[in-house]
Amino acid sequence: MKTASLWELMLLFASLSLVAVGGANTVVPEMHRQAVEVGGWMSDGEFANLYAIVRAAPGPNMLISTLIGWEAAGLWGALVATAAMCIPSCLLAYAVSHLWDRYRHKRWRRDVEAGLAPVTVGLVLASAYVLTGAADQSWRAYAVTAATAAVSLATRINALWVLALAGVLGGAGLL
């Protein structure tokens, strides 16, 4: 497998940072294409394993950039890829949120807020639907999804207990 230069990693992830509207998951296919097909930094199976590791770990899924950088160019690669994935979009978010808060009391700003809110919630519900389809292969898994949603809506039980229980059920081969 080839090694990537830090410059290559920086350019790749900085540009992905600025097109990842809707979250890091939307650019995972492009990361795969660059890392496996274009760059030749890892095999298809290695990429799938790295993505599985990120999803198993706590924290944002954009840390797939960390592991791609690590696999492609070691520890510095991990640092550069992660920083490049975050810094451009963070600077933009900082600048825009400054303006967003400054005009908080304007009428047009309230209309934009009222208009965006349902689209935002629709996207969240869509991601819930997609995640359910990806995770649930049996009626028992669907039951776990539904029960978790119900517990989370109706009680104040710490959902970590629910996640742990679901992990135990999955590990025992019951889902």
């Binding site: 954009m62 979009s89 949120s97 965006l116 919630v121 996207l123």
Partner: protein
């Protein structure tokens, strides 16, 4: 907490509290961090009202970049300016950065274990339920406005059921939804 009380609260959140809140969000975030962001910021710390959270997340979703990373910048900046944004971001990213590297090193040494995949499968099923709950809770902010419910359903159907790419869907629905909100005042 009322909208006004939550909105007036800027400045009373310490840097340490920002760091620990986002550290908690990220370390709880197995299978997705956003439900934990909502739970921590709205239900537990009460730094944002439900409506303010929906608004902040709207901004983060329509901007490029990982949503929860953007959220750390937006929330951190609102309470504590540049230092707050940096602190919230560090709380969110530093610990899981080290964790995935450690797991990556373990994987390189031992390979992938089928038991771990099965456990992960169970956690993913539950994590999807958390996202459903979060979406429904957020929908409560406009549940009595038929126009808004219609746009939420359209966005959900287009990107969920139809799997259309998110960017064109936003480009069409967001302006229409804003125009509709503007006409109704």
């Amino acid at each position: 907490m009322s909208e006004r009380a939550a909105a007036a609260g800027t400045g009373r959140v310490s840097l340490g509290a920002l760091f620990s809140a986002f550290l908690r969000i990220t370390l709880s975030g197995f299978g997705g961090t956003l439900p934990w962001a909502r739970r921590t910021l709205v239900d537990e710390r009460r730094w944002l009202s439900e409506r303010e959270f929906v608004d902040a997340l709207s901004l983060c979703q329509f901007l490029p970049g990982p949503n929860v990373v953007n959220l750390s910048i937006v929330v951190g900046r609102r309470f504590r300016g540049a230092a707050g944004a940096l602190t919230a971001f560090a709380g969110l990213v530093v610990a899981p950065f080290l964790i995935v590297l450690a797991l990556g090193a373990l994987y390189a040494r031992y390979g992938r274990l089928p038991e771990i995949d099965r456990i992960l499968g169970g956690i993913s099923a539950a994590a999807a339920g958390l996202v459903w709950a979060m979406g429904l809770q957020m929908a409560g902010t406009f549940a009595r406005i038929p126009r808004a419910v219609a746009f939420a359903l359209l966005a959900a159907l287009a990107t969920g059921l139809m799997r259309w790419p998110i960017l064109p869907v936003i480009a069409v629905l967001a302006p229409l939804s804003i125009a509709a909100a503007w006409r109704r005042g």
